[in-house]
Amino acid sequence: MVAKSVPRLNNQRMSLAGDDPRLAADHEHGSELSETQLRVRALESILVEKGYVDPAALDVLIETYETKVGPHNGARVVAKAWTDPDFRQWLLTDSGAAIASLGYTGRQGENMVALENTSSVHNLVVCTLCSCYPVPVLGLPPVWYKSAPYRSRAVADPRGVLHDFGVELPPDTEIRVWDSTAEVRYLVVPTRPVGTDGWREEQLAGLVTRDSMIGAGLPKRPQDVR
C-alpha cells in the first residue's frame, strides 16, 4: 500500500483507471529524475529560451487550474438552479448565458449545455475520443474521466459504470449518455436532495459533488454533511 502522504506515483497508464504501483514509471523522489521529468524540463527551457512562452504565464495557467477553476464553480450554478426557478429555467434554455452571469466563461466552456436530472431521467457525460470536459465550471477532469475504462463503457454500459461509482438507479430510469465529440460541453444538474427545504444556496452548494455534475455520482444527502 502507498500512503497518501508519500509523493504519488505516476501510474496512470491510459489503459488503467486506478492505482497500480507495480506499473509505476515515474518516481518523484530524491534527486533521481525520471526520463519524463527531464524531457519536460528540457522542453520548457527550450521554449522559454526561444521566447515562445512567458514563464510567468505558465505559472498563471497552473495556478488557475490548481486553485481557482474547479467544481466549486459548477456547484454554485447547480445550487442557484435549485433555489431560483427563474435561473433554473434560464440555465436549461440558454445555458451559456446563465452560467456566464455567474462569471464562469471561456476555454472549454464556450458552448455550454445544462442537462437536468429528474425522477425519471439520469444524464451521464463522457468524451470517448479524448477528455472534453466543461472546464470553466468543473476545472480539469479527474484521471478516471480520461481513462479507458470510463471512455469505453460509459456509452455501452452506463449502468455498469454507475455501479462502479456505487450508484444504483431504478431499472426504469431513462439513462441519457452524452458523448462530447465536438465543442459543446455538458453540465449535469442533479436532482436536489430530499430534506433540504429551506436550505440556503451556499449550504446546498456544499452538497453538489463534482461526480454528480458529470452524472457519475449523486449529490451528498443532508445526513452526509452533518
Binding site: N10, D26, A42, S45, I46, C130, R159, T181
Partner: protein, 220 residues
Amino acid sequence: MNGAQDMGGVHGFGAVMPEPDEPVFHANWERRVLALTLAMGATGEWPLDASRFARENRPPAEYLAKSYYEIWLAGLEQLLVARGLVAPDELTAGRSLQPAKAVKRTLPAGDTTGSLERGRPTNREAPRPARFKVGDQVRAKNTHPVTHTRLPRYVRGHTGTITRAHGCHVFPDTNAHGHGEDPQWLYTVSFKGRELWGAEADPTVTVSVDAFEPYLEPAP
C-alpha cells in the same frame, strides 16, 4: 482515424476506479506539460484540432501504455518539430541551438487570465442553410478516414434522431490538417442504445453524440 483513442464500446479495460480526494495533478511535470501545451496553443501556430490529432496519431499500444499527460507531452513535441519551431537535436540537447522562429503571438502573463476567460469560440457564420433540422432521422455515415475525425466508430452506420442544432462550427476534420476551418452545421444526434449495441442492450439507454453535417446522411 481508427486509433486507440476511439474507445467507445471497447471491451476489456475493467472497472472504473475513482481516486478519493484526487489531486489536480499527480506530479509536478504534469503541471508544466499542461501549461506549456496551453501557452503554445495560444501562439496560434496550430489549432486545438491539430493538438488532438497529434495526441491520437500513434500506435495503439503506445497510446494505451502512456499516461494522459505523457500523451500530451509527446503530442506537443511532435507539433513543435513538425512546425519547425524546435529541432529534434534541441530536444535531445535540452537547450536552444538555433535562432527562434517567429510565432504569430505569445501569451503574456498579464493577459493569461483574460485569454482563458475569453476562450476560443468555434462558432462561425453559416456558409449555407442547414441540411437537417431537429426531429430528422439521420444515419451516421460508414466512413473510415485515416485523418482526424470526431465521428466515433460506434455510431457509424447507425440511425438516430437530430435532437439539437448548434449552429455552424469549425470542422475538425479539415482544420486539424491545415485545410481551413470549413465551417459546418453541428447537431446533437441521439441513438437508442439498442440501435448501437443490439437487442440485448439496456432499453432505457440513449446515447447522443455531437455530429457535424458531413458525418450524416438522411436515414434510409
